[in-house]
């Protein structure tokens, strides 16, 4: 995006000495105030209120939010009004003489009872909204949502369609080596697709630690708890792409597992679903095909950038995870490498990818790792080898 190209000045200042640059920060503030003039999407940038959203529930919650907010504002005006009045009128410097009163049963009773009545007035609409939110019955579509460290899996129940949804923002954008895109940190490879005007029920659980599935425009937020299942529902009114994020601290990449919901007309949804099923069929076919080294390498690089880069780094030099350059695994026996990828390493952050990657991607990423970054093993793996290996286990 345009406007962020203005930022590097402040960044380089900040990265030098964060604790001694306050005056410089203040200067950069002026710089950035100017830069805001060239920004196109002002409303989104300075967003300071809850989005109204695109569902009946989200609108109801928005109204509730505004109602309570306004009640608070008015109470605040009255209370602070009295306070500032006495701070201005009852100063010693203007000769005020203190009175002596220090209790009044009537007044004290009044300001206990009146707030209680206001609270009841708030509780009534809140209760009715909550009851609606809790009614998950009669859903048209059920989608299981599983939180993983650090991605989401969606499974369309009864449809044999299931996929992972990974962050696609490149590491270069995150580390400031490339300009940040419009949907920085809110973009995924495969959004969850739902039809509009249908009651969609999400069954939410987790694979490892707690996560929380949250899409503000749908006003849906629910914790994903390993071993337990939670359900929430939504009916989206307008087609569109709605973005959200994980809302429960789940470890290192908690800030890097967005949610993208793509709501479309029902016909389009059906088409998408059929295509998805077709893809699954094709994949089954492709499992038996052979690929060239170049094909595998190119595909493997993509898989690597999605699944491995967060721990092993963009060029395999390691980070949180060990370096893959010349390691005993990537330059060791093929079988060991494959087993490790399928089963993961217990007690470490290395996950079991056997279920998460299909056989083609598994073959491709292993081939890539064994031949990239100067590993130059020259060997490669075909999907059918992965299949056979899994069968032989």
């Amino acid at each position: 995006m345009l406007f962020f190209s203005k930022r590097p000045t402040t960044k380089s200042l900040l990265s030098v000495k964060p604790f001694v640059v306050f005056p410089l920060l203040a200067m950069s503030f002026q710089a950035f105030a100017k830069s805001s003039e060239v920004v196109a999407d002002e409303a989104q940038r300075w967003g300071m209120n809850m989005p109204q959203g695109v569902t009946a529930t989200s609108n109801e919650i928005y109204d509730l939010h505004m109602l309570i907010f306004m009640i608070c504002v008015w109470i605040g005006v009255v209370v602070f009004g009295v306070m500032f009045y006495s701070m201005i009128m009852h100063r010693k410097s203007s000769g005020a003489v203190p009175s002596k009163f220090h209790e009044s049963t009537i007044v004290e009773l009044a300001w206990t009872i009146i707030p209680a009545i206001i609270l009841v007035a708030m509780a009534v609409p809140a209760t009715s909204t909550l009851i609606k939110i809790y009614d998950t019955s009669d859903a048209d579509i059920d989608i299981k949502v599983v939180g993983y460290q650090w991605k989401w899996q969606y499974e369309y129940l009864g449809e044999e369609v299931s996929f992972f949804s990974n962050l696609t923002t490149p590491q270069d954008e995150i580390y400031g080596r490339a300009p940040k895109g419009e949907h920085y940190l809110l973009e995924v490879d495969e959004p969850v697709v739902i039809p509009i005007n249908k009651k969609v029920r999400f069954l939410i659980t987790a694979n490892d630690v707690l996560h929380a599935w949250w899409v503000p425009a749908l006003a849906v937020k629910r914790d994903a708890i390993p071993g337990y299942i939670n359900d929430v529902w939504t009916v989206v009114d307008e087609p569109g792409i709605y973005r959200g994020q994980c809302a429960e601290l789940c470890g290192k990449a908690h800030g890097f597992m967005p949610i993208v919901v793509h709501a479309m007309e029902e016909v389009d949804y059906q088409q998408w679903l059929d295509a998805k099923k077709g893809e699954a069929e094709e994949l089954k076919l492709a499992m038996s095909q052979s690929f060239s080294m170049d094909e595998l390498y190119a595909r493997g690089e993509k898989v690597y950038q999605t699944n491995c880069v967060a721990c092993h780094g963009p060029v395999g030099a390691g980070g949180v995870g060990p370096s893959l350059i010349g390691s005993s695994i990537t330059t060791g026996p093929m079988n060991g490498h494959l087993s490790l990828m399928i089963n993961g390493v217990q007690g470490s952050a290395m996950q079991a990818f056997g279920e998460q990657l299909n056989n083609i991607d598994m073959a491709a990423v292993i081939t890539y790792k064994r031949n990239a970054w100067g590993n130059n093993m020259g060997d490669m793996l075909q999907p059918v080898d992965v299949l056979n290996h899994k069968r032989s286990l």
């Binding site: 503030f29 309570i68 209680a116």
Partner: protein, 517 residues
């Protein structure tokens, strides 16, 4: 008797059983922790100054948020209040010292040990605690770094220190009051601390139980919080918040007491509704035990549970409102002056009320589905804790410092400190309401572009606020080293026994009980 001074050298501090010495040590320790927790906060704010990862990696960022929370809650706010209690309660009730002076020494000296242990985890392999100050399982058990065991022991020691401190305070208040000092004559600071101490005794053991269960899950193969063995991660949250919610009030009730002492002095008018203040404090303390699950509206409780906790939480607004109204009515038709303690107290009333408003919004369960775990929550509890707990501590220090060291602080500098803090605080935390409502989750090291502007403003405010506190250190040291001699009363007709003794307060006071009117 009563005239011999303190021992000399380091031994004075190591072996002291004098409530004033111990109070001072608590206060200095908490200030050191306040600066350390502040540095952690500035690391967070520096990283969040703009989108992208610039200064720290996400793992370290998570350690910073965790340590910031733990250090500020257990290291800065709680010990500061215990320090004030040590200094003030014996003087306020006309007692020569705390009821259990030797235990008093212990409860202080195990604290630095606990925090050394906690801080050392940052340098261990795998890093320090990175699971948030709420340390939800299984991130804090099965998936925790190895240093979690040290974290657990540190929490145990902090808990022991708090419990010992509370027993001491309760025993002092119930047993050591001067003749004629009936319960309903006690200053509100003493009352609020008495209730706080009971809260501590009720919930710190639950926290100890909670971390003990974690320890057993991690090392002894139990499954309290592990679904595979029949446990439940949600149970962890119930146990934690059964402690955690009263803990929030532990950090605010003594502040109520402080403000209730300061506002009448500078309004030159007795506190309005003393009795209702006591009852309101007691009912807040009671309610704090039945609202804990409002921290967990999104875990998928049945609707009956959601409704119960929503209604109970909303109820807290009533006694809290009573307190705010009482303070304002105390000011009403008074004769006000605005010295530094009063400025901090007025800011307390305003900003704490704003924190209360956002708290009321968060109590509404359906709306909480949008607010939960966003920066709106961060803004809310910082509005309650910074101008709430921290500002009240500043107010207390300015108010009683002349009594402690015998010198007046420099009013001009004090006011400058106030305004810098006030502006810094609002610039830091007010924009957080906006980004929270707009959809920014908390505890993330990097964020989407639309949150950039308000985050930048918040970061600048944070540095302003942070550096103002170094200025506060300067003011306090300057006051201790010299300045205008303070009178016995210090202020104009303040109420309380502590103003009947000379300034600085002699090493031993009230060795013969004072007469109470």
């Amino acid at each position: 008797m009563g005239d011999h001074g303190p021992a000399q050298g380091f031994g004075r501090w190591l072996f002291t059983t004098n409530h004033k010495d111990i109070g001072s040590m608590y206060l200095w320790f908490s200030f050191a922790m306040f600066l350390m927790g502040g540095v952690f906060a500035l690391v967070i704010r520096a990283e969040l100054f703009q989108p992208g990862l610039q200064l720290v990696e996400p793992e370290f960022f998570n350690q910073m948020t965790t340590m910031h929370g733990l250090v500020m809650v257990f290291g800065a706010v709680m010990p500061a209040f215990v320090g004030l209690a040590n200094w003030l309660i014996p003087m306020m009730v006309g007692a020569p010292d705390m009821a259990l002076p030797r235990m008093n020494n212990w409860s202080f000296w195990i604290l630095p040990f606990a925090f050394a242990l906690l801080t050392s985890t940052l340098f261990m392999e795998g890093g320090g605690p990175n699971f948030g100050w709420t340390f939800y399982a299984p991130l804090s058990t099965t998936y925790a770094p190895p240093s979690v065991t040290y974290f657990i022991f540190a929490v145990h020691i902090m808990g022991a220190s708090s419990i010992m401190g509370s027993i001491n305070i309760i025993a002092t208040i119930l047993n050591m009051r001067a003749p004629g000092m009936t319960l309903m004559k006690m200053p509100l600071f003493v009352w609020t601390w008495l209730i706080t101490a009971y809260l501590l005794i009720a919930v710190m053991p639950v926290l100890a139980g909670c971390v003990t269960m974690m320890l057993m899950d991690i090392h002894f193969g139990t499954s309290f919080f592990n679904a595979a063995g029949g446990g439940d991660p949600v149970l962890f949250q119930h146990v934690f918040w059964f402690f955690g919610h009263p803990e929030v009030y532990i950090m605010i009730l003594p502040a109520f007491g402080i403000v209730s002492a300061i506002i009448p002095t500078f309004a030159r008018k007795p506190l309005f509704g003393y009795a209702s203040m006591v009852y309101a404090t007691a009912s807040i303390a009671f309610l704090s035990f039945i609202v804990w699950a409002h921290h967990m509206f999104t875990v998928g409780m049945p609707i009956a549970g959601e409704l119960f906790f929503m209604y109970a939480t909303m109820l807290i607004a009533v006694p809290t409102g009573v307190k705010v109204f009482n303070w304002i009515t105390t000011m009403f038709r008074g004769s006000m002056t605005f010295e530094t303690p009063m400025l901090f107290s007025i800011a307390f009333v305003i900003l704490f009320t704003i924190g209360g408003f956002s708290g009321l919004m968060l109590a509404i369960a359906p709306a909480d589905f949008q607010y939960h775990d966003t920066y709106f929550v961060v803004a809310h509890f910082h509005y309650v804790l910074v101008p709430g707990a921290i500002f009240s501590i500043f107010a207390a220090v300015y108010y009683w410092l002349p009594k402690w060291c015998g010198n007046m602080y420099d009013e001009r500098l004090g006011k400058a400190h106030f305004w810098l803090s006030f502006i810094g605080l609002n610039v830091t935390f007010f924009p957080m309401h906006f980004v929270g409502l707009a959809g920014m989750p908390r505890r993330i090291p990097d964020y989407a572009l639309q949150f950039a502007d308000f985050n930048q403003i918040a970061s600048m405010g944070a540095f302003l606020f942070g550096f103002s506190q170094v200025f506060f250190l300067f003011i306090v040291i300057k006051t201790i080293r010299g300045g205008k001699q303070a009178t016995e009363e210090v202020w104009e007709n303040p109420e309380g026994l502590e103003w009947t003794i000379p300034s600085p307060a002699p090493y031993h006071t009230f060795t013969t009980p004072p007469a109470i009117k």
